[in-house]
């Protein structure tokens, strides 16, 4: 940033139009992001052109809705609480199943049908392809979660919810969607078979969810293992406490998965 500032200062002293320079800088950034954005758009479009997207969204909303309204525990009004805790409590587990179903086709289908050959001979970096697909899966998961905001409207009508856990819960959901999508994309790049990609993604995401739960069975000095669990960090955020450690955890999962996927695809050459 300081380089940019000083270069603007230099330009100013020479009397060059700063706005144009800044605009071209932004233009270059956009130009760089062009390929991943185009890939993301295409993948998102592909989701909504097939009925699978709508089926996944309907099942997701049905299941999460039943948790929100506590159908199995006597009903939403029985507890007399204006909160979304039960929704966010089960969201991580549900996402471990749903997100791999969303990501399974991203690379497996391209490898299976051979379209990867066209894709990898376009003038794009492998990482750009991975990022584009990762963003599409994350965005799709967010779109899938978005209708649950209706629950929020319901509880605002019937009571006065504490905003902290709800904002934290949605932020955590986005991060969780990103982390699971990145892991799912990685699983998808390993196989030409979508079912195997799904099972691989499911096993990985579920393990990440499970890790902090098995610490009960481990000696106390191994309790640090819980830091590797997605649910552990999600719970922290969904309490309404946004801690950099939790953010770092989710971003690490995303970055590592994208890098490994890029390596796997490059090694296919």
């Amino acid at each position: 940033m300081s380089i940019l500032n000083s270069s603007i200062k230099n330009l100013r002293s020479r009397g060059a139009p700063v706005e144009a320079h800044v605009r071209s800088f932004a233009g270059n950034a956009l130009l760089y992001a062009r390929a991943p954005m185009a890939i993301m758009k295409k993948e998102l479009m592909a989701y909504f052109f097939t009925p699978i997207a709508y089926i996944v969204i309907i099942i997701f909303l049905g299941v999460t809705g039943s948790f929100f309204f506590q159908i199995l525990n006597g009903g939403f009004f029985y507890y007399n609480q204006a909160e979304m805790r039960s929704f966010f409590q089960f969201l991580p587990l549900i996402l471990t199943i749903v997100v791999p179903a969303i990501t399974m086709r991203l690379f497996a289908e391209e490898i299976h049908s051979g379209t990867i050959e066209v894709m990898m001979t376009l003038p794009v970096k492998t990482a750009d392809v991975v990022v584009g697909k990762f963003l599409a899966a994350t965005l799709f998961t967010c779109i899938m979660i978005a209708p649950s905001l209706i629950y929020l409207v319901t509880i605002i009508i019937v009571g006065s919810p504490d905003p902290g856990p709800i904002i934290g819960g949605y932020l955590g959901s986005i991060l969780l969607a990103g982390a699971y999508s990145a892991v799912g994309v990685l699983a998808s790049s390993l196989s030409r078979n979508q079912i195997i990609a799904f099972i691989g993604g499911l096993a990985s995401c579920f393990s990440l969810w499970l890790v902090d739960k098995i610490t009960i069975f481990l000696p106390a000095r191994l309790s640090f293992i819980e830091f590797f669990g997605t649910d552990f960090h999600f719970r922290n955020i969904s309490r309404g406490i946004i801690d950099s450690r939790d953010l770092v955890y989710f971003f690490s999962i995303i970055v590592i998965s994208i890098l490994v996927t890029t390596k796997i695809l490059d090694d296919r050459r």
């Binding site: 130009l31 185009a38 479009m45 050959e117 066209v118 001979t121 003038p123 050459r269």
Partner: protein, 309 residues
């Protein structure tokens, strides 16, 4: 334009391409010819930076493929074998997506490609519903949308009907006037019809690399002429034909009611005027006389015959 030096690619124990070198000039249409499994596709995949050669160097223009694959891909258009496409996309959306990734502004190029490849009528159809011929055209449109310097086509006419083959060949020849085109095929007439130059590849090795017309001449300059007449029987015709200068062999062809013979002649002189004069001198009726270009096929068979062993 393209220089390939000693590239080798192995898949496990199989050597798909073995120490292959060639160079291709700008504005040449080069045919990569070989039997199935000869290493044509692997070679093309290395040229397009889809595969990385185990050893050897490929440079395209002044760019090294290993150092700048993204830059190289910008000037290459590539149609992979059997035109893999996204079946659940509409043709227009697909071309639009490719244009976007390649950074082409506006939809002018898509319209041009629609005209050039004759896909305007299917522009709003699902790719999955298209026939093989239209898929191939959409693939071709995809490969040319950025007006590439180099066009690489892997078996561009496979699975097409005869009319479509001729259309695609004409299209390739048209493009080849301005651009460098490399196409792979195992169909000989295709090379003879479209290519300036042939590289014959067999089991990963280059076995011939020359201009198409040179290769046609190279096999001793032998030509075949098919003659069909009436008014005489075969022995009489054969006797007269073998007396003509330059004729080295006559064989009977029994595929019609007419008396037919295939004449093999050596040398560069055309024997057809002699045949005509002989036939008209005998007062026989000449129905048909056809110069058969069979030499490239023979070259191909001779060079790649080991493949069947």
């Amino acid at each position: 334009m393209i220089t390939v030096q000693g590239i080798t690619k192995r898949f496990g124990d199989i050597t798909a391409v073995n120490n292959v070198s060639f160079s291709i000039k700008e504005g040449e249409i080069t045919g990569l010819l070989g039997p199935n499994g000869a290493g044509k596709t692997t070679t093309l995949r290395m040229l397009t930076c889809y595969l990385r050669p185990d050893t050897g160097v490929i440079s395209i223009g002044d760019l090294n493929v290993e150092d700048g694959p993204v830059e190289v891909r910008k000037i290459i258009g590539y149609l992979p074998e059997s035109a893999p496409l996204y079946n659940d996309m509409i043709v227009y959306d697909y071309l639009n997506y490719i244009a976007e990734v390649r950074g082409i502004e506006g939809n002018g190029r898509i319209a041009e490609m629609g005209d050039l490849c004759g896909i305007n009528s299917v522009m709003h159809m699902n790719i999955g519903e298209l026939s093989k011929g239209y898929r191939q055209r959409v693939g071709l449109a995809q490969s040319m949308i950025h007006d590439p310097e180099i066009l690489i086509l892997d078996e561009p006419t496979s699975g097409l009907d005869p009319n479509q083959i001729i259309e695609i060949r004409n299209l390739i020849r048209e493009i080849g006037k301005k651009k460098t085109v490399i196409l792979s095929t195992h169909i000989l007439p295709e090379v003879e019809a479209t290519c300036d130059r042939v590289i014959i590849i067999d089991r990963g090795n280059i076995v011939a690399d020359d201009r198409t017309d040179n290769l046609q001449k190279v096999s001793g300059g032998e030509k075949m002429v098919l003659v069909r007449i009436s008014g005489a029987d075969y022995p009489a015709l054969a006797a007269e034909l073998s007396r003509l200068p330059g004729v080295v062999g006559v064989e009977e062809v029994g595929d019609s009611d007419l008396v037919s013979a295939r004449v093999t002649c050596s040398g560069t002189d055309d024997v057809r005027p002699e045949i005509f004069r002989m036939v008209s001198g005998k007062n026989w009726t000449l129905y048909e006389m056809l110069l058969e270009q069979r030499s490239l096929e023979r070259v191909f068979r001779e060079l790649t015959a080991g493949g069947t062993k």
